[in-house]
Symmetry: C2
Subunit: 242 residues, 2 copies
């Protein structure tokens, strides 16, 4: 090309942990200090402000933080357009040679919008360097909070999404001693019913807003009201041990 | 009881991450600074020295680090006796009112001897406070190294132990897009054969000694020698996406 180009900046996908500001890694802290620009998903205002609170103490004073809209919809066309626009916005900065961090609660590769962003950025700038910094996930933090073994010896464990309800639980338990059901809020009724049907209510613990204001740990699901609703950021830990 | 008792110390299970010294959390660093005594498993000398190197810079100058023998055997009697002796050794310090950290590479509740230690300590001192600090696991670090999405949308993922070979892989893949096979060394042959049989060699990546000296990433298993051996701390990432 005739025009002179700056070296592309690096895109960092930075896991900032499950909510407790101390559960961020030294590497994430270092990267946050070094980058020129920070992006965060703004799908939920609540989630954005938790993320902002975690990273703020680590940023250089003049590092701008920008919210990228990832709409919470199942309309594929709306989603694809948002992902594309977000990719372009990030690439603008990378093309100026700026290093950019995209922060994610939990881990950047586990149910995170970073996967979409990475894809878009790669499509626009195939040679961009992308570095992912893993983060502590909500389910690891949940197990820690309960001192509940996740896996031992020859057995495995399973992480399922609860967005479609409890349908996945039975199959998952056939193959492992521990099952985590993430995103256990919108379809909590269905998850609860599945646990009932499987006789597992006594082996399941529901955790809401772990490590945050309004944290709740429900060790006996049967004590919940019939139509109890769970907040965003709820998960279920099922243990089939002993 | 007639005798005066000191308040029991707290037992911390501290995850120190997968090997990269920067992938430890701020909370782990704080706890390591505060405790009176640090224990580490000495099942493998190699693993012990990696762990020691990670925590040393964070300990107060006079904090003693002691190795606890967790023999690598399948002889249950030998194991049970070792776990009991280790529990007693740790409880000695807790009874003196000392706060104790047991450090674990990765996460303390994911294939870690901490689960055994916790059980023994609870049996000896049911009222002891046990606090687990989650750590970044090898498989999260592996996915990050590869920029490989672990889970998206409605799908789950599965972590299996490779100690018995590749038998678990087929069933796990029926239910998820991503499967991690941890401890993929002793029975690597069997794991490799399972991947071959399932036509997955092109979707599997083997990672050895991630983030450590001698790190290797094998993106095409068919390029390995027939009888290639994998070192301790090897794992396989299988992705069935797209």
């Amino acid at each position: 090309m005739g025009c002179k180009r700056t070296t592309l900046g690096t895109l960092y996908g930075v896991g900032i942990g499950p909510g407790d500001p101390e559960l961020i890694t030294l590497k994430a802290v270092r990267i946050l200090k070094e980058v020129d620009k920070v992006f965060a998903a703004s799908s939920s205002s609540n989630e954005y402000s938790i993320a902002k609170e975690i990273v703020d103490p680590h940023l250089a004073q003049d590092t701008p933080v920008e919210r990228l809209p990832f709409p919470m919809t199942r309309d594929k066309a709306v989603l694809v357009e948002a992902w594309r626009a977000n990719g372009e916005r990030v690439v603008e900065f990378l093309r100026e040679g700026k290093d950019v961090a995209f922060i994610t609660l939990g881990d950047p590769l586990t149910y995170s919008t970073f996967c979409h962003l990475m894809k878009q950025v790669k499509a626009l700038e195939p040679n961009v360097e992308i570095i992912t910094i893993p983060g502590i996930t909500s389910y690891h933090a949940a197990a820690a909070r309960l001192n509940a073994p996740i896996a031992q010896g020859e057995r495995g464990f399973y992480v399922v999404s609860g967005v479609n309800g409890g349908g996945e639980i039975r199959g998952a338990l056939e193959r492992s001693d521990t099952v985590f059901v993430l995103k256990a809020y919108r379809k909590f009724d269905s998850i609860r019913k599945a646990l009932d049907d499987l006789g597992l209510t006594k082996r399941a613990v529901v955790i809401k807003r772990l490590g945050l204001d309004g944290e709740g740990i429900i060790k006996d699901i049967s004590t919940l009201d019939e139509d109890e609703k769970m907040p965003y950021l709820s998960l279920v830990v099922i243990q089939n041990l002993e």
